[in-house]
């Protein structure tokens, strides 16, 4: 379908550009993305985090190890279930994520600055439609 195609392509190329800003964070993309889930969604168990990131548990074990080694998250025991491991961002982790996110958003915002008010509101409306779409995704 025509719209699907155009949307798909635009999303790919947009993210490819924006992602380049992450180089300076000094943290890989998987770690950054997992950290983002924790900073915006609060503590998660390893399994919840793996599900949220759509990766298998062994992958998340290693991602969390990396984040822990650099002091960006801490792990603590679950009170109700001795098998579960809760993971929480440290203040350092929250700070780093916010900065990385700021770089991405500001970079994109700079590009958008040259657009007209009409175009910006069209983009805003489209984003809201997509949010709705994602909420009901089959």
């Amino acid at each position: 379908m025509e719209v699907a195609d155009r949307l798909h392509s635009a999303a790919i190329h947009l993210l490819r550009r924006v992602r380049k800003q992450d180089t300076r964070a000094g943290v890989g993309p998987a770690q950054l993305s997992a950290l983002s889930v924790l900073v915006f969604g609060g503590a998660h168990t390893l399994g919840q985090l793996a599900a949220a990131e759509q990766v298998k548990p062994p992958t998340m074990t290693r991602v969390v190890k990396g984040l822990e080694r650099t002091g960006l998250v801490t792990r603590f025991a679950d009170r109700n279930d001795g098998r579960r491991i809760q993971i929480r961002p440290t203040p350092k982790g929250a700070r780093l994520l916010q900065q990385a996110r700021k770089r991405r958003i500001e970079h994109l915002a700079r590009q958008l600055a040259a657009r007209t008010k009409q175009e910006l509101s069209a983009l805003d409306e489209a984003s809201r439609i997509l949010e709705e779409l994602l909420k009901h995704w089959a």
Copy 2:
């Protein structure tokens, strides 16, 4: 900025969903993406391909090796410059890419089917604005 933020988030989540369709292609994301450049853009030198994919030449050397090993691309010498290596998709490579792309687009199109005509045209317009934005990206 508000719009940048919303757009960024929508693009991330959209692609994450769509990308899951690629599992069945049996080819990694970097290979699939490079193959897409070749199928839609014709033969490229290794360096052009690396630039298009925003990776360094050594990375692309290996990606191309993988594609070559599974018979999805072929390499041939550049007539004008003996240092250059041209890379071209094979019929098998073109076929595989088209199928993978079809799966992605159709999956997205199925989700879009529940939207109104107005919403679809808003998404289409936004995609065109983004294409324009990407063209003049600083």
